[in-house]
């Protein structure tokens, strides 16, 4: 049962036992899709959800009769209006794309040609397929811009992609997809790359566009809550296979498949213990009035680009301090200052009561050891040329002079600590999954026997289920080793579930700090409230019922 009333008609798309195989560089064949079947009926929005790599994009693209290079269709059929797309010639496929089926990409920022004006790209579909003449296409595009509530719809098309914000681009991409009046629109995670506050705006725009037109859509996402707002039916995927399919209500409310259940439960926020329940102890890390940024220092003593502007914080021993804020607000910069990677222009860092030199080179080995940084992207944080054993072993040798047997057995202990088997120490990072890499990343930091861990969005790149496991691990380690975390995230739920205290940043400044348990208490800073209220819940009616202060949104969201 969906909230919006629309007529769901006959089957538009029928996917039958679709198989897609990829050939790797070494010539090995991998089945990406292992026989996927589903239908899309005219007028409904079908959601595909699953973890990263489960084959969502592959399915989405197959609806446009396209397989990425290195992949090919190895079986099954995709019927659109009863015609099998797999048997079409390249010419016929071209005629289909953008015209009958169109696509809204995951990252509009990357999908717009940086050297062409937006309008030219939006009307290109009409030009290619000869649907409309140029002037009519422009008029239609402007109409679409307006209906997607884009600012200054008449002129926005004359800008280049880099001259509009991410949220706007995402909506422009939707306009581009809609201009040919396609029968089917495929949305591939169109909001994943956006900030939560922005995401709401875009979701709303999409939803009304869908409703207005009674469109048929396939909406791909890994975020159940987002999908719940917009879809009629949901298909849950894992490893290229359908796990469960059903009405949105059913999937969200009464999942049948264990995997779906795991997904749902990972989504439920774990309430933090009230801050008061843990004894306040001495401060282990303090930052005072830190100003930092990039580029040459100007005459007023501030850097050219100020990323962190006068932030102070205190981290208690054995506690976790969460730092949240939208992308680009200076969270990572703050951590880099603490780690000494980016010397502050002014302000102090104090570790264990002793002030730290701003530059990492000037700090003592023991000072460095006590504070370890864990980066967001485990992909780039691990040297691809070193084995896991070496990566974890290096801090052991560096800080503790361990060698040979001793080092090896300690590496095994550390791997065990992050729940990984001992033989993984012979692997290279690229032979690990994302979650495993993040664990190695963590184990390397632990090898130094630190007091403080600086964690930079370490779960953001992980799937919800995996991320939940890593968070669990962090909590356990904190209990066992009395670690203190300075934990940066843009996801308020994650922070809430792990941290004792939360600090909110905006535009390089600290807005406020509060106990995690009090998040919903009154008298919060409006921006914090906006953040908290912008997170979708599994309730399919959430978006429709959402009331946000438009003034606030204009002030803080960059959509």
């Amino acid at each position: 049962m969906t909230i919006h009333s629309k007529t769901v008609g006959e089957t538009l798309v029928k996917v039958e036992d679709l198989k897609v195989t990829a050939t790797t560089d070494s010539g090995r064949k991998i089945e990406i899709l292992k026989g996927v079947s589903f239908d899309v009926r005219r007028g409904e929005v079908l959601a595909l959800i699953g973890e990263s790599g489960s084959g969502k994009t592959t399915i989405a693209l197959s609806l446009l009769a396209y397989a990425r290079s290195g992949c090919h269709f190895s079986g099954g059929r995709v019927l659109l209006n009863g015609k099998d797309l797999m048997t079409l010639s390249e010419k016929e496929r071209q005629k289909l794309r953008g015209n009958t089926v169109s696509y809204v990409p995951q990252s509009a920022a990357a999908s717009f040609n940086p050297s062409k004006k937006i309008m030219d790209q939006v009307v290109e579909v009409a030009e290619i397929h000869g649907i409309l003449d140029k002037a009519a296409a422009r008029q239609k595009a402007i109409g679409l811009f307006r209906s997607l509530s884009l600012p200054s719809p008449d002129t926005i098309g004359d800008r280049y992609p880099h001259q509009v914000s991410g949220g706007q681009l995402q909506r422009l991409a939707a306009a581009m997809a809609l201009i040919g009046d396609p029968e089917l629109v495929v949305f591939d995670e169109p909001t994943t790359a956006l900030d939560v506050t922005t995401q709401i705006e875009v979701l709303k725009a999409f939803k009304s566009a869908i409703l207005d037109r009674g469109m048929t859509g396939v909406y791909v996402s890994h975020d159940l809550a987002v999908v719940a707002q917009i879809s009629d039916r949901i298909i849950v995927l894992k490893d290229g296979e359908v796990q469960e399919a059903g009405e949105t209500e059913q999937i969200v409310g009464a999942p049948a498949h264990p995997y779906t259940q795991a997904l749902i439960s990972a989504f439920e926020p774990v309430e933090a213990e009230p801050a008061g329940s843990r004894p306040a102890s001495s401060a282990v890390l303090e930052m005072r009035d830190v100003v930092a940024g990039y580029g040459n220092v100007k005459s007023d003593g501030k850097p050219h680009i100020v990323a962190v502007d006068g932030v102070s914080l205190t981290l208690q021993r054995g506690h976790s301090l969460g730092v949240i804020g939208e992308s680009g607000c200076g969270k990572s910069t703050l951590l880099r200052v603490a780690a000494g990677l980016l010397p502050a222009a002014s302000g102090d860092c104090v570790l264990d009561g002793r002030p730290l030199r701003p530059q990492v080179d000037a700090r003592g080995k023991d000072e460095l050891r006590k504070m370890q940084i864990v980066f967001q992207l485990a992909d780039t944080a691990l040297n691809p040329a070193q084995t896991v054993g070496n990566i974890i072993g290096r801090p052991l040798t560096f800080y503790h002079g361990m060698k040979g047997e001793a080092r090896d057995s300690r590496v095994i202990e550390l791997l065990d600590m992050v729940r990984m088997p001992a033989q993984f120490r012979h692997r290279l990072p690229r032979e690990l999954s994302g979650g495993q890499r993040q664990r190695v990343n963590l184990a390397r930091a632990l090898a130094a026997k630190p007091d403080v861990l600086l964690c930079d969005e370490i779960t953001s790149a992980l799937d919800t289920v995996v991320a939940a496991k890593v968070l669990e691990l962090l909590k356990e380690l904190q209990r066992e080793l009395q670690l203190s975390y300075l934990f940066v995230s843009h996801d308020i739920h994650t922070v809430q579930s792990l941290c004792d205290e939360v600090m909110v940043m905006f535009g390089g400044r600290k807005l406020e700090t509060f106990a995690a348990a009090d998040l919903h208490a009154e008298a919060r800073h409006p921006y914090t409230k906006l953040l908290a209220s912008s997170l979708p819940t599994l309730d399919p009616t959430w978006l429709d019922n959402l009331k946000q202060d438009p003034e606030l949104v204009r002030k803080f969201a960059h959509a």
Binding site: L61, L64, Y66, R68, Q94, K95, L96, R97, G98, N99, S102, Y103, P105, S107, A110, S111, F112, N113, P114, S115, K116, E124, V125, I128, H129, Y160, H162, M176
Partner: protein, 316 residues
């Protein structure tokens, strides 16, 4: 054009000028290090210590190098390229005789190479993986694997000596008509085109292939664009910077780097002039030629940089 672009272009020009200055220093003092000098070479077998010393004095070679450097630089800035004592003529005259030849050869080569190489590179990219693409790529590799002199000599052997179709020398007789001139240029230009083409084909194809792998080209495809539209309308405009850069690099050797061609075809160009200068220790000549070559290189590279800046819409 906005201020930022002007600033960046200004920066490029400043860097080019700075480089030219560094080059002048390097050129001057490296030539100073060459053993033997003009005086000795002028006197040849008849050299004696006293005679050489006397000649050095008359030529002003006995004064400190720094002084001569600044005189030289000042001369260059005021358009005085120096005096070649070896040939007893102003260097400007010597250069004026050769530079047009070198420029002609370079210009003809460029006029053929650039469209040809870019065309082949682009078509290879459009039909990536096709027979055409593979044939072009293999041909490019073959051509870069053979020494220039071998290609040149084989051409002469075949086209001049056996077939007698083309003159073996590109040394155009004083009284040449248009046909003769065209015939004379065919072989040297071909050799140079072979040499510079393959590099450029490979680079332009790679640059377009890079751009083809971007999400926005994939998006164009998903809009129903044909492959040629993807390449020409979407990939190419974004591959301008690397392509122009590769063109500049390949072309930069066309003045000074064509010594083999000038030798085999006996073409009176600047490279041979400089080699002559080296063997006769004609320092002002060597220095001027080096400066011309480096200047040419810098002009091309800077032009490529500027085109890259202008082609970047983020700066517009």
């Amino acid at each position: 054009m906005n201020k930022r672009i002007l600033e960046m272009i200004g920066g490029r020009l400043a860097i080019a000028i700075l480089s030219l200055f560094l080059v002048s220093l390097a050129v001057f003092f490296i030539t100073e290090l060459l053993p033997g000098d003009t005086a000795q070479e002028l006197l040849g077998q008849a050299v004696t210590t006293e005679a050489a010393a006397q000649l050095r004095e008359t030529l002003g070679l006995d004064r400190p190098a720094i002084l001569r450097y600044f005189e030289w630089i000042f001369g260059l800035l005021t358009g005085d390229l120096g005096y070649s004592h070896v040939s007893d003529r102003p260097v400007a005259n010597l250069v004026a005789e050769r530079l047009p030849n070198s420029l002609t050869l370079a210009a003809i080569t460029m006029a053929i190479t650039i469209p040809l190489a870019l065309g082949l590179g682009i078509f290879a990219a459009i039909w990536k993986g096709s027979i055409f693409d593979r044939a072009i790529s293999s041909a490019a590799i073959m051509l870069v694997s053979f020494p220039e002199f071998m290609i040149a000599t084989l051409l002469v052997m075949w086209l001049s000596v056996y077939m007698q179709w083309l003159p073996a020398l590109s040394f155009i007789p004083a009284t040449a008509d248009f046909r003769t001139i065209v015939l004379a240029f065919i072989m040297p230009v071909s050799v140079l085109v072979f040499g510079s083409c393959s590099q450029m084909i490979r680079l332009s194809r790679a640059a377009i292939a890079d751009a083809m792998a971007t999400p926005y080209v994939e998006m164009a495809m998903l809009k129903g664009a044909s492959r040629s539209r993807m390449v020409l309308r979407h990939a190419l405009p974004n591959a301008v910077a690397p392509i122009v850069n590769s063109v500049a690099l390949s072309m930069s050797g066309l003045l000074g780097g064509v010594i083999i061609v000038e030798t085999v075809f006996n073409y009176p160009g600047l490279a041979k002039l400089m080699v002559d200068g080296v063997s006769t220790r004609d320092m002002p000549l060597i220095q001027t030629c080096s400066m011309i070559f480096c200047g040419f290189y810098l002009v091309l590279i800077t032009a490529a940089d500027i085109i890259a800046i202008l082609s970047n819409p983020r700066l517009r």
